[in-house]
């Protein structure tokens, strides 16, 4: 009841349709829950998430490790770990992806919605030439011969500065540097010109220089008109790239804000805490620790135990409340 999509729409009925006039929703996640039943407790990796991704926007999903953002990302591709239970809907172009057969899902993966995995070093097959792997999504489309795919891969490598393209495409992933590997993963994601790309932690473990080259690669993707969902805990990267920011905590969405407004004045106390923990804002840590993993969270606001302004009302979980313009927040302060 509390985190019901209806509540959200009551507070802002025409939220998406009239935004910037031509925007339309490409992916709509509705009440999505991905739970892992363990012998002692159920880990709620994703717990009742409502989210709408607009066409051609860049949406950054930020949160700490364990907030459920990666599970949410792979869920959009219909990829779930074997032991989990799933409920809710993920609508893409009018179809609920969770109701599609594996066969139908395969026609979406890579071609319509592509994924850029995290940890480039382990995300590529170590015994297959990188060029072949980057062009692999294309091999599933009719009319793409081996030669044509190779040409396309060389174009992509040149575009995303994986140089020299011919030599790099023949090399194995282990001979790549971290930044170059990440850029070839971006090339792989875009190879079949999908409508949506979901990128999981593209800047994890990458130094500043390489981060800049990865940001450039992603800007390139955005300029092609591809909808981007960037899952990251890198606030700088989100600030550089995103149109909107979604904050996740313990499996739930706490805030959805326009990027400018988010970094100017975050709505949720947790978002404010995240921004205060940035080095340029004084490196102030958020007290306590996330409770998703140890299952200590039972009811009420998920951030209650760490929130400086928690009150009696927070024993009840707040719904997503429209706070300003199109921004929404899951906090009673804005009721």
């Amino acid at each position: 009841m509390y985190y019901n999509i209806c509540n959200y729409h009551k507070t802002g009925p025409c939220r998406y349709r009239d935004r910037k006039g031509t925007m339309s929703i490409i992916i709509e996640v509705n009440q999505l829950s991905v739970h892992f039943p363990l012998s002692t407790a159920t880990v709620k990796a994703v717990d009742g998430v409502d989210l709408a991704v607009e066409e051609r926007e860049t949406l950054a999903i930020i949160g700490e490790s364990g907030s459920g953002k990666s599970v949410l990302g792979t869920a959009i591709l219909g990829l779930f770990p074997p032991t989990c239970t799933v409920s809710g809907t993920i609508t893409y172009e009018g179809k609920d992806l969770l109701c599609l057969s594996e066969e139908q899902l395969r026609s979406v993966r890579g071609l319509q919605i592509a994924w850029i995995p995290q940890n480039p070093a382990s995300a590529l097959n170590p015994s297959m030439r990188t060029g072949l792997q980057v062009g692999e999504p294309l091999s599933r489309q009719a009319g793409w011969t081996r030669e044509r795919i190779h040409e396309r891969v060389l174009e992509l490598f040149a575009k995303f500065r994986v140089l020299p393209p011919e030599e790099r495409s023949q090399a194995y992933p282990d001979s790549y540097s971290g930044g170059m590997l990440q850029r070839s993963l971006v090339a792989m994601g875009t190879s079949a010109s999908p409508k949506v790309i979901i990128a999981d932690e593209p800047t994890k473990g990458v130094d500043t220089l390489n981060k800049e080259s990865i940001a450039t690669a992603f800007r390139e993707v955005r300029n092609q008109g591809i909808t981007l969902v960037v899952i990251t805990h890198d606030l700088d990267f989100a600030r550089e790239l995103a149109d909107r920011v979604v904050v996740m905590y313990n499996g739930a969405v706490l805030e959805i804000s326009d990027k400018e407004r988010f970094f100017e004045r975050p709505l949720h106390p947790y978002s404010a805490g995240l921004l205060r923990s940035l080095p340029e804002n004084g490196l102030v840590p958020i007290p306590g620790r996330a409770t998703a993993r140890d299952g200590a969270f039972t009811s009420g606001c998920r951030f209650r135990s760490r929130c400086p302004g928690a009150g009696e009302r927070c024993a009840e979980e707040p719904p997503l409340i429209r706070a300003r313009h199109d921004d929404a927040v899951r906090c009673w302060n804005y009721d």
């Binding site: 792979t74 591709l77 990829l79 899902l105 395969r106 026609s107 979406v108 993966r109 890579g110 071609l111 592509a114 994924w115 995995p117 940890n119 382990s122 995300a123 590529l124 097959n125 170590p126 015994s127 297959m128 692999e136 999504p137 599933r140 090399a171 194995y172 282990d174 001979s175 792989m188």
Partner: protein, 313 residues
Amino acid sequence: MNALVVNRVLQIIPVLIGISVITFILIALAPGDPAEISLRAILDTDNPSPQAISLMRAEMGLDQPYHIRYFIWLSRVLQGDLGYSYISHKSTIHEILYALPTTFYLATLAMAISIIVGIPLGIAAAVRQNGLIDHVCRLFSVVGNATPEFFLAILLLLFFSIQLKILPVAGSGGIQYFILPSLVLAVGLIAITSRLMRTSMLDVLEQNYILTARSKGLDRGTIITRHAIKNALLPVLTYMGTQFGWLFGGAVVVESIFALPGIGRLTVDAVNTRDIMVLQGCMITFAIIFVVVNLAVDMSYIWLNPAIRYDEV
């Protein structure tokens, strides 16, 4: 990569020296007087005369101290002379070269059978984890592993040679003489290979790059053939490689049962008659085969795992 190969080849030398020392010590420690035991076989008598024994001791060099005997033997080996058999009076090299093809044929056949059966079995068991094939595979590996070679050999002989009379009992000649022996050798190997391949496949299927392949919309068949099998083969291949040497050891039992004139039987005969030079020659041959096979396995790593290709990148 060349440096890698040279390095590996040079490592063979100390290994071979070590093995030759150990065999020499073991033979020296074996109970009984080698000269007397040899003479019993040569003269076909239980009590050879003391004069004959002392002559034989001199011929075998047993009157020399151990370390002198070792260095005499080593210097001859380095000149390419492995000595001769006191029984047949043929050169050791001749005996070994005559026996080696039989064993090589046997081991290769056994290896081929276990690869052809074991690896697909392991893949099938992993792909359909806890399915029927997986259970059958598990049962087979427990039974196959627990059954001693000589027992399995006797069972197969009773069934195929005595009951059905479709395969020869023993001896050598065409391929029909090799079917049962190689099958016996293969069973134990299939049992382990299939389990190893299964574990390795399951491990690979959990890897991140398999998730990447799935995110590209590839079908299960493509993911398994193109992304999983080659990576899963690596640890299995290592094991198979070392087992090729082990097959030569297993050939000792199997060749004796099926009366195949291979190096395994030559070794057993040499032990029984204390034909020291032939025995040492056989041991060195086993060692060389083992080491060369391991070298080949290392080289095949390079093909399977580009991360080991040191200077190519």
